[in-house]
């Protein structure tokens, strides 16, 4: 066990993160729910010590729930990568609100991150687009980038229904994947095409260890 902020404290932090004003279907913008994000961050730090004092990346950081949580857990520096200006504006407002100074952000396409970042990060966090609708396969592209950026490990969420595929894909990229938990991702009706008021999606919380 590693020293870690209390789970409740992390969740409180994440609860006051401002969400997307107008989420974009094309980018599969969903907020990481505070309950889910705090459990992820708590596990990553308390079980593996992979945040405190580490260089951390958040891919497709959106409004920055994971990045802000990691910064609050004393990452030496968190770098958020995000393509969408509107999301970054909210992210910046959240950073200021939380008075955290160990976060930096870059507006760029996650699939186009400069090679000089490869192997630089100790820990890569992401809640990637699940690759539904027109984005099929984008989740695996995110995973591929994440594994390149990390010199140690990657934490990510993927749909439970794709587990075999995810593990095989990681294996083919030279990484060892492990499902740490099965979670229910409660997605409130964000978009017009959602018919129910909220949908539970079953997701796996993964830890991938990168071969050195």
């Amino acid at each position: 066990m590693f020293p870690c902020l209390k789970l409740r404290k992390i969740e409180e932090r994440l609860q006051c993160i401002q969400e997307f004003d107008r989420p974009k279907v094309k980018l599969e913008q969903y907020v990481t729910p505070a309950h889910l994000g705090s459990h992820m961050l708590y596990t990553i730090q308390s079980q593996y010590g992979d945040i405190d004092g580490k260089l951390v990346a958040d891919l497709g950081c959106g409004c920055g729930a994971l990045a802000i949580g990691a910064a609050a857990l004393n990452a030496s520096l968190v770098v958020g990568f995000e393509i969408d200006q509107d999301a970054l504006d909210i992210f910046q407002a959240n950073i200021e609100e939380h008075e955290l100074y160990n976060i930096d952000s870059i507006q760029c396409d996650v699939l186009n991150i400069p090679e000089r970042f490869h192997k630089q990060f100790d820990t890569v966090l992401m809640n990637p687009p699940f690759g539904t609708k027109q984005n099929e396969g984008v989740d695996m592209k995110f995973l591929q980038v994440a594994l390149k950026l990390s010199n140690n490990c990657v934490y990510s969420l993927h749909k439970t229904s794709t587990r075999n595929h995810v593990l095989k894909h990681a294996d083919s990229l030279g990484a060892k994947g492990e499902v740490l938990a099965e979670l229910k991702y409660d997605i409130p009706a964000t978009y017009k095409f959602h018919k129910k008021s909220s949908v539970d999606i079953e997701v796996d919380f993964y830890r991938f260890v990168v071969s050195r």
């Binding site: 004092g53 520096l77 952000s105 870059i106 760029c108 400069p114």
Partner: protein, 155 residues
């Protein structure tokens, strides 16, 4: 903006404002030099190296970040030192930074680690732009966020 200037500024000219002094400074987030040290424009068509990017900064800020000597000494070997030096110099914050390379005893040299800590994590560019050394393409830094997005015809 210098604080002397800030000391003189008021918003009294706004209709209905009587005193308008002192003005509150809103802290804006910034790009750290660590991030600059990693950025390249190699993915752009026709660019072979695209490194280092020139910085034209119009706004700099120093923020306070917890000093973690272990982290800094671990990250030193990853840094392109001359690039860090010239980036710091170009924005006027190269004080006490060695020009060519870190000292050999850098892992135990706490004074040096503190200087490196400041340059890497505390000095920040708020507004400005990054310029590709090969194509001259400019990337704006707004509110501390460098915008590295390229148009489709540039990739």
């Amino acid at each position: 903006m210098k604080l002397l200037t800030h000391n003189m500024l008021t918003s009294k000219c706004i209709r209905g404002v009587n005193v308008g002094y002192p003005l509150v400074i809103n802290i804006i987030r910034n790009m750290k030099l660590f991030t600059h040290n990693m950025l390249t424009t190699k993915c752009k068509k026709g660019v072979l190296v695209g490194y280092p990017l020139n910085i034209k900064a119009s706004d700099i800020r120093i923020s306070s970040v917890d000093f973690n000597p272990d982290f800094i000494s671990k990250i030193i070997p990853k840094i392109d030192w001359p690039v860090l030096y010239s980036a710091a110099e170009s924005i006027g914050h190269s004080e006490n930074l060695p020009k060519e390379a870190p000292p050999e005893d850098y892992e135990t040299n706490e004074d040096f680690l503190k200087i490196a800590h400041k340059a890497l994590l505390e000095v920040e560019v708020v507004h400005g732009e990054l310029v590709c050394p090969e194509s001259g393409r400019k990337f704006p830094i707004n509110n501390g966020i460098p915008n590295m997005l390229l148009n489709e015809d540039e990739i």
